[in-house]
Amino acid sequence: MDQQQVIMENVLQFMQKDHLEEEDFNEQALRLYSYQYQFNLPYQAFCRQRGKTPRMVKAWRDIPAVPVNAFKEVALSCTDPEKAEAVFMTSGTTKGIRGKHYHPNLHIYDRSMILNFKQRFMGNIEKVRMGVLFPTEKEMPNSSLAHYLALAVKEFGKEGSGYLMNESGVDMDRLLDELNRAEETGEPYALIGASYSFVHVLEELERRGKTFSLPKGSRILDTGGFKNQSKELELNDFYDLLSSSLGVSRTECINMYGMTELSTQFYDDGNESIPAVKSGPHWIRTRVIHPLTGEEMPKGERGVLVHCDLGNFNSVTTILTEDIGIELESGFLLLGRVQGAEAKGCSITLAEFLKAAKEPLK
């Protein structure tokens, strides 16, 4: 076996564990760290600049966190990026540069998704009829979300599951057929997809004056926030509307928080109250740090999220996000993404400058 295979085997075994000692996570994280330090050269340079060589790093908390922006600048991979089976890209806004996450293969990504999805979304059912509110993998080959949703249908979708999209967006006719069918047959139904697609659906249902009462056991998974693709809704209103238009209680409306730069997703246990606590499986851990000093914030205080995902065997385990959150006993609260701070004075900010450069004054 070559080194990559050994590493992958380790990770897979780790994910299967049902009993975990604190030391186990540490050991696995450090093993991945020295592997990545050795083979991922941009990461090695990054660690060296911080004086964090494997000799200095004694615990998973010491592993240098790579800012998500770095995925836009360099190829973070232990193997030849050209040979990657999948390259997931961020949607990329500024200057059109997109962050790239290279996966030499998707064994671990898929395993991570399946184990976690089963536990956090499927509850105690094996399969459910699903409708997807997002384009297919074929249409978006570089979208990790497209892959994730396709996998959900493949692994957990009953026959008849499928995509409810057409060229112009959500295929309302098919969606309504599916919802009617569920109501008539009493068979639980799952709608999964991008948050902004749900917003379009809600608007359309309101326009048509339609509401549904989906059978017990039905559930909803939304992800990704609204990203200026639809009218921004207050989270509370969003889940209220979802619940009243589709007849799925807010506790059955699960939000998934994922990132292109990770191989593992976080879920909440429904959105009865906002913001809901997010957590992940035992192979991912989250710290909340102060962005300037890098020091961990006391539990309950706002800071920036750092994720250490052992599913990221090929890129880097530890990612510094631009998401603000609070650490709790049972997970963390996600409070939103830093969108570039607002101007305090009268000097121009980067965001405003980029906007002005894009749309020159007439």
């Binding site: 941009p42 340079a45 990054f46 600049q49 800012p67 998500v68 922006n69 770095a70 836009k72 600048e73 360099v74 102060h290 962005p291 300037l292 000093t293 706002r302 800071g303 920036v304 510094l320 631009e322 603000i324 830093v338 570039g340 701070a341 607002e342 101007a343 305090k344 004075g345 009268c346 000097s347 121009i348 900010t349 980067l350 405003e352 400058f353 906007k355 002005a356 450069a357 020159p360 004054l361």
Partner: protein
């Protein structure tokens, strides 16, 4: 503690709502209580201010107004006066800036409004300040008088302390009634200034108002703007665009958008002794108000070929910023600001992998950051809060081609150059949109009578009223003494 902000003229025994803005300092919080008027009350204020502008303010000579402002400024400069003490105590908490920075900044700013500076202000724009008092003969015949509007509305923005004074004093000098909306980031200073003025000259009591409302209140803004002769607005282009959409065509709008400023160091300024001084001054421009001002530098272009190299300048800059951090620490940043700053810095650090010549200098607490880059010199803003880039250049044309596409956003250049370069470069920089060139160390303290964003402070506010010579000649025919 709670402090009343804003200022209202006498509109009788009206009960009005107030808005509380809270500022958290390291030694306790301050609440600003500011009047929040309803539409009817606002109309009363407008009527009152207009009336006072016509009946009272316009009866003062401009020399008298200068005298009153001078006295007010003198009180605010006097560190023993209660208003000054209040400003020194509260503004650091409200804005977060270091106390010394606020104290020094206030003094250097306020002294540009002393009597002699105000006279310069008047002469600069009008030539003959008496134009504001009386019809003055024109060289080509006839007479002219400069008449200020009944009402100027000011929409102030930002947390740079005391910034509203520019436009408020300009408004007073042209004898206009003034209504100002303070920024929620610094709601105090304009109101204090109004109170000091009234203490000195009680007859001015109804000539202005300092209030607050939530920006974007369409109805209120439309009503106020349509009753104003001039609206002066500060803010980002987007919010100015919104403002503009509510301003009737008959009201003059003077928008001051967010700007970007930078420094240029010529090789002639870079011998071992002078370079140190230049960098010291440049760093001062960076730390004053943590680059929040439109005149604050985002980056420095350093010419190659001097005895001190551009890379060395970057390192000296790092050294200076570290020294200043000890004496004048940066204001505490919000979590959002901290996160975007560290993300900016990390992105720069990642770039080192592709460009080994690049340097990212900073301390472990991220109190400041200097990035040196030479492979691909460019023009982008810094993320502010003591973050600068230093880049080398060979000749001025390189810089011109980088900044020219951003003409609408350019403002101040801090320059270290010899006299020939100063004038040659000013010539070409002016063509691409730069409106102010000053020495390093002076970027954040514009001189009295400066042309803010290239415009006139007073001339843009007034209307000239002409009596043509024909009218004068014709009037002679109707004189009682005509033969």
């Amino acid at each position: 503690m709670r402090e009343i902000a804003g200022y209202l003229p006498d509109i009788g025994k009206e009960k009005f709502e107030t808005k509380i803005l809270t500022f958290q300092g390291k030694d306790g919080a301050i609440e600003a209580e500011i009047p929040l008027l309803n539409e009817k009350q606002m109309d009363m204020v407008i009527a009152k201010v207009k009336k006072a502008s016509n009946e009272t303010l316009k009866s003062f000579s401009s020399a008298e107004i200068v005298q009153i402002i001078d006295e007010a400024i003198e009180r605010l400069l006097d560190r023993r006066s209660p208003y000054r003490q209040k400003a020194e105590k509260l503004l650091p908490i409200v804005t977060g800036y270091n106390e010394e920075i606020v104290r020094l900044g206030l003094t250097s700013y306020l002294k540009t409004f002393r009597k002699h500076e105000l006279q310069r202000f008047l002469v600069e724009d009008l030539g003959n300040p008496l134009l504001l008092d009386d019809f003055q003969p024109r060289v080509t015949g006839g007479y002219s008088k400069a008449v200020g509007p009944e009402l100027i509305t000011h929409i102030w923005a930002g947390n740079v302390p005391a910034l509203p004074l520019w436009s408020l004093i300009s408004g007073l000098l042209v004898k206009a009634g003034n209504i100002g909306k303070v920024a929620s980031a610094e709601p105090f200073f304009a109101g204090w200034f109004a109170q000091v003025l009234v203490e000195i000259e009680p007859r001015l009591a109804d000539c202005f108002a300092v209030v607050w409302w939530k920006g974007g209140d369409e109805e209120r803004e439309f009503s106020l703007f349509s009753q104003s002769g001039v609206v002066v607005g500060y803010g980002g282009n987007q919010s100015l665009q919104f403002l503009q959409s509510r301003i009737p065509i008959t009201t003059r709008f003077l928008p001051f958008g967010h700007k970007i400023s930078f420094g240029i160091l010529s090789e002639s300024s870079l011998d071992s002794r002078k370079a140190w001084q230049s960098v010291h001054q440049a760093a001062l421009d960076v730390i004053r108000y943590d680059q929040q001002g439109c005149y604050s530098p985002h980056l420095f272009y350093v010419q190659r070929g001097g005895k001190v190299s551009p890379r060395e300048v970057a390192r000296m800059m790092a050294n200076e910023l570290e020294n200043y951090q000890k004496r004048f620490p940066r204001r505490p940043l919000s979590m959002e600001e901290s996160a975007s700053l560290s993300s900016w810095r990390q992105k720069e650090e990642m770039g080192i992998f592709d460009h080994p010549n690049k340097e990212v200098l900073g301390n472990s607490a991220n109190d400041w950051t200097v990035v040196y880059e030479e492979n691909n010199i460019h023009f982008t803003p810094s993320c502010l809060n003591r973050v600068v880039k230093v880049m080398p250049f060979e000749n001025i044309e390189e810089i011109l081609s980088l900044v020219a596409p951003h003409r609408h956003l350019l403002q101040t250049i801090g320059m270290a150059a010899n006299p020939k370069e100063l004038f040659d470069w000013a010539e070409s920089l002016g063509k691409v949109g730069v409106t102010r060139i000053t020495a390093l160390g002076k970027m954040t303290s514009p001189e009295a009578g400066w042309h803010h964003d290239g415009r006139f402070n007073l001339l843009d506010l007034v209307n000239m009223v002409d009596i043509e010579s024909a009218a004068e000649e014709s009037s002679e025919r109707f004189a009682p003494y005509v033969d």
